[in-house]
């Protein structure tokens, strides 16, 4: 972090102009004094001439006195000027020194506060396009488009910098209006939306091989989150980037017309930003959702380009059930019948998982001896096909919870079902490895489209189970209070159950003892 980097701005008076004024006065006042003093010296020389040619001694003496007087008068011009300049320089020096010291202190306090505030709340400037983290972005002068790389309290100004090109005053703090200026990434120079660097960063990559349905999942989950979760709870959900909003609206329009999204082509994805603010929350969150093309996990070189992994707060790992070898072999004829609709992913689950681990190892130093705190949601997609919904989806979850009342949460039931599904399909090693490496693993099943794509069917797609993985992850990242909601719901269920226990003693025993007993 550099405190003082040359900027296209004018230095503060205390650090630049004030000292230049002192130097200019020192250099120029005596030039003017010299011309005044010379006038006296010329008068003196004339007196001297007259003294040399005067007849009588007194007259000669008087001319010599006049000559001496003129010399003294000339000298006094310099002495007076020297006294004035010296007094000015001493006062100016004191003023500038005190001014610079106070400004330096205020600058240090403001920079220190900004640094601590950013680090405490985990607010960072991270480019959604090239994923570079920067201490401060480039701010663009609104009047002349000059780029200012260090628009913060500095020797160029504590609260404002003055653009050297157009003389505009540019605020150095967000509270003074800096956030209204266009900000650009220092690395790729692309404009960044105004919420980058102002809200708490939450980074979530959606991982999976090609054609696993990641993009469909992201947009449908966003829609469900906005409409079904955030809006009823009074959350503010906005797209800080107008391009992202346009892209979201276009994609939702396509999905609402029964059309599938175009396959993602970016191997290094642009993060898709969503700002989320809870009611009465001071600082909101900015979600960076990364949707890399499945090809990003097809080879090692592409995998290593996923540099944003060093920031991640949670992972969504999408598994296409039709890319599971055993499942594919067992259901070959059924899959072949709907192959064009389900479009099985070409990358094996373990290959995608292995590459994801390789990135985590290189970016955050994954250790085999220590489990990662990072939550990972394992999402089995395309459950609308081949009766998977009844096997691992919402239907199966409800059935299992009805069969086994000790399972209180849907996530718990989903975990049991999907773990069993993966183990039955020779992916037990994946389940074991996940439990070995990750502290928080959630298992979910979803269908982003809700039905199989059909070019002749223009009914809107109705997703199933897309919200749960995202909510679980956002709950783990502290964006939403999922745990509090579940606890409240469970408590209400316990109260209702207690009331059915017959007498008050049994009800109290159930509520305060039986319901609190650990289950598994």
């Amino acid at each position: 972090m550099q405190l003082y980097e040359p900027q296209p701005s004018y230095l503060m008076y205390a650090f630049g102009g004030g000292w230049e004024v002192m130097a200019y006065i020192w250099q120029n006042v005596f030039k003017r004094t010299a011309s005044d003093a010379n006038w006296w010296y010329m008068q003196g020389n004339s007196c001297k001439l007259k003294a040399q040619y005067a007849g009588s001694i007194p007259v000669r003496y008087w001319w010599w006195s006049a000559y001496a007087g003129c010399q003294l008068a000339g000298l006094s011009q310099y002495l007076t000027a020297l006294a004035i300049v010296a007094a000015f320089c001493v006062i100016q020096f004191l003023i500038l020194t005190i001014w610079a010291a106070i400004s330096g202190l205020v600058i240090a306090l403001l920079l220190g506060f900004n640094f601590l505030y950013g680090n405490y709340f985990k607010i960072f400037f991270r480019c959604p396009d090239c994923h570079e983290q920067m201490s401060i972005p480039i701010y663009v002068c609104p009047a002349c488009s000059t780029e200012h790389t260090r628009l913060w309290p500095s020797v160029y100004g504590v609260f404002h910098h003055r653009c050297a090109k157009c003389n505009s005053k540019l605020p150095t703090l967000d509270v003074l209006g800096r956030k209204t200026l266009v900000q650009k990434c220092v690395s790729c120079k692309r404009p960044m939306n105004p919420d980058v660097g102002r809200l708490i960063n939450i980074h979530i990559p959606v991982i999976g091989g090609p054609l696993t349905g990641k993009s469909n999942y992201i947009f449908m989950a966003t829609k469900r989150f906005t409409e079904q979760y955030a809006r009823p709870r009074g959350f503010e959900v906005t797209f800080p980037d107008k391009n992202h909003q346009r892209e979201y609206e276009n994609n939702i329009r396509m999905l609402s017309s029964g059309m599938e999204l175009v396959k993602t082509s970016n191997v290094v994805p642009q993060a898709y930003n969503l700002a989320v603010k809870k009611p009465r929350e001071w600082i909101g969150r900015i979600l960076y959702i990364y949707d890399a093309a499945g090809e990003a996990y097809s080879d090692e070189n592409s995998t290593l380009l996923q540099t944003y992994y060093k920031y991640v707060h949670g992972l969504i790992f999408v598994i296409d059930p039709f890319s599971i070898e055993l499942y594919r072999r067992q259901h070959e004829s059924e899959i072949n019948a709907v192959r064009s609709a389900v479009r099985p992913s070409t990358l094996s689950v373990m290959d995608a998982y292995g590459r994801m681990l390789a990135i985590l190892e290189s970016s955050i130093g994954l250790k085999s001896s220590k489990r990662l705190q990072l939550p990972i949601a394992i999402v089995i997609s395309k459950t609308d096909a081949l009766g998977l919904e009844a096997q691992i989806g919402q239907i199966a979850i409800r059935e299992l919870m009805n069969r086994d009342p000790s399972i209180r949460f849907e996530a718990e039931a989903s975990k049991q079902l999907i773990e069993r599904f993966l183990e039955e399909n020779q992916l037990g090693n994946l389940v074991r490895d996940l439990n070995l490496r990750f502290e928080n693993v959630g298992y979910f099943a979803c269908s982003a489209l809700g039905r199989m794509p059909d070019a002749s069917d223009h009914r809107p797609y109705e997703p199933i189970g897309v919200l749960e993985p995202l909510l679980w992850l956002l709950g783990k990242a502290g964006v939403v209070g999922v745990r509090q909601g579940l606890t409240r719901r469970m408590d209400e269920q316990d109260k209702a159950m207690a009331k059915t226990k017959g007498n008050i003693f049994k009800a109290v025993k159930f509520y305060y003892w039986d319901s609190l007993r650990p289950r598994r």
């Binding site: 004094t33 005044d36 003496y61 006195s65 001496a68 007087g69 011009q77 000027a81 004035i84």
Partner: protein, 64 residues
């Protein structure tokens, strides 16, 4: 004796006159010197202050 006193008084008077004239001549020279020097100081103070403010204004005008 009276003549002697008269001579002495005359000499004293002449000396006094000569000394007074010399002192007057010297004083006039000192007055000229002092007057010119004082005038120089006064004009120096006025012009110096004036020059200082002119240069100070120039210096600030040069600043962006």
């Amino acid at each position: 004796m009276d003549d002697l006193i008269g001579y002495l008084v005359t000499i004293a008077l002449v000396v006094a006159v000569v000394v007074a004239v010399v002192i007057a001549v010297l004083s006039f020279g000192g007055f000229i010197l002092g007057g010119i020097a004082a005038a120089g100081m006064v004009t120096g103070a006025i012009k110096g202050t004036n020059n200082f403010f002119i240069v100070l204004k120039e210096a600030h005008d040069r600043l962006p």
